[in-house]
Symmetry: C2
Subunit: 362 residues, 2 copies
């Protein structure tokens, strides 16, 4: 084994299936005649923008990416020279030159930002708020904008849903109506309203450009169930560091939160809360090993968890075996159900100690 | 501004005060005649091992470090050629050569690991379990170990507390007694039992080497209060991206979880749950700006939170101002009180998008 092989072997694994992300993109893209972009902010929701963005760019129709801030945009530009890159969080005075030089497209969120980009000739997006009241022009600012003169090359008009994961919520139609009124005043710009869940509200909502994030990676934004063709694109595997035999009454972990009710066999795994995803303390959490579900026992440590492998079905389990923490058997849905965290938080909470393995067919 | 300056300016900030970490180390070191090591696993509890370990090594008496796995050890060895480095999670067959070549000291946790290191001449630690039942020799394995022959250069004997943060818990004395019995059979090795909280159990527990982690960084392992001389060594500062005026009845964020009870002024900040620390959704969370506490309103987004700055005391607050998310005014204690997470999880959950700023006097 090379040093690199050994170091990879010494870590738990985060597998990211780029083929599945490509399939998910194609599923989303097929829902509409609109073009489909990819939201890759927060390091592609914790899974690695550097690998995922090029996979989409080179193997799908995706040529447009959205990130949260300029740091993410500059990193993405260094990887993908030819991609269109929009930055959600707005334009700030000292940053203008970098946007211009690196051909990164700011999304302007208020009148001051309009002034910074006026007469720059390069394209921009504009975010018109339709009720979520985070970023974007307020109603009053929107009215003033359309009554004022400016010299902008606006190539995108966008807004953001409050709760598109609830299809019958009246706010969706209200936001749609408001967005349409703005959108028709800038007919030469592309219009974009749909995040992942919004895509499933139907074609009235699609306009010119979809911009899914979480569903690219196979997470569920809160829909009653994951749509057909959207598959969880990653798994986490930990390794068994040690196996212990416990007598009745012996306890495991900090504060003795689990005590062996019988003679027990316990495996210690090399992931803990420092590796994210795993807010398992004091809750019912499970892993998957050798074809069976096993229960997490005791309090989660920073670098370790313990699982109960007493049952005879685990007889073949040994040190160095890999254990599925999250994957096709221990799904995001199962983990979220036993957690105070949702899919988004579980994904973006994935830690940085994993050996990251990306697969893509040649 | 250089490109690097601009990119730093486009991120929220994580400030780590290396002077405070040095002061905390000196406070802990002064509690005992024992030597004092530093636990820097999980990237120094989320704060950056690459800066913190050298600061301790070069500016204190600390020359011994503990990490969780071989990857962390190799990284640390590349930074500190002269340090003693112990790895908690045990020795595995394919990894032996790297331990030997890089002069990294494994902590052996079970009889198989003894075999792997036998006759290697280089030093090792041995972990004897005294009741937490994670890693380390069981009672039976310990007895067998002392009845068998081996050729090991054992320079450290250690065990780990179940609940040293509860000074009167009977488990502390039980573990102490058990550790002493083992320790006296290996009189030439240094003995180490105390994590951060253990240090405050008094000198009977100190033996030869203390190994604090969280208190180096100013976190509290669960003691009734932070001891004198231990100060929170880091702060997180976010920037205001936009300020909005809301009419009565307008809501903020996903699912409209907060609605303006009066005409309100809201600031949007550039940190969200992807930046860790911030499981603020649906709870009472606070930030500190311009000398005053402000309330977080609405659901936390991936990249943003909103705060209420309606009160006249916030009249001077403007876009681009920095806001304390965590620091001397918004302490770990305050955040933990409003969270399902403790100090350890809040710290190791700190995200990777921050502009990290380390200060150390020349």
């Amino acid at each position: 084994m090379t040093v690199a092989d050994v170091l990879n072997d010494a870590s738990a694994q985060l597998h990211v299936d780029l083929e599945t992300i490509i399939d998910n993109y194609n599923t989303l893209n097929a829902q509409s005649n609109a073009a489909c972009a990819a939201v890759v902010k927060a390091d592609a929701y914790g899974l690695g923008m550097e690998k995922i963005a090029p996979a989409l760019f080179h193997h799908t129709e995706c040529n447009t990416f959205f990130v949260a801030n300029l740091v993410e945009a500059v990193k993405l530009r260094s990887i993908l020279k030819g991609a269109k890159i929009y930055v959600f969080n707005g334009l700030f005075e000292d940053h203008v030159d970098i946007y211009l030089k690196q051909n990164i497209t700011p999304i302007l969120n208020d009148p001051n930002q309009i002034q910074l980009w006026n007469n720059k000739n390069q394209p921009c997006g504009i975010h018109f708020d339709t009720g979520i009241n985070r970023l974007g022009f307020s109603d009053k600012q929107t009215e003033e904008f359309f009554n004022s003169k400016h010299n902008l090359n606006i190539d995108l008009v966008l807004s953001h849903f409050i709760q598109s994961e609830i299809p019958n919520h009246p706010s969706n139609e209200i936001q749609l109506d408001q967005f349409m009124r703005v959108r028709y005043q800038l007919p030469n710009a592309k219009a974009s309203l749909c995040n992942s869940a919004g895509i499933y509200l139907g074609e009235d909502y699609h306009f010119d450009l979809l911009r899914p994030g979480i569903m690219l990676y196979g997470g569920n934004p809160g829909l009653p169930k994951r749509p057909v063709g959207i598959t969880q694109a990653f798994e986490i595997k930990a390794k068994i560091l040690q196996i212990r035999e416990l007598e009745v009454g012996m306890s495991v972990g900090y504060n003795s939160l689990w005590t062996a009710p019988e003679k027990s066999r316990i495996a210690i795994l090399n992931v803990g809360y420092a590796d994210g995803t795993l807010k398992t303390s004091d809750r019912n959490s499970f892993v998957y090993i050798d074809g069976h579900i096993a229960k997490v026992v005791g309090k989660t440590s920073m670098d370790m968890i313990a699982i109960d492998i007493t049952d005879a079905k685990f007889d073949k389990v040994t040190v160095n075996n890999f254990v599925e923490i999250l994957g096709s058997n221990i799904t995001l849905e199962m983990v979220a159900e036993n957690s105070t965290l949702g899919h988004y938080e579980l994904m973006t909470g994935i830690g940085r100690r994993y050996n990251k393995i990306y697969n893509l067919r040649a």
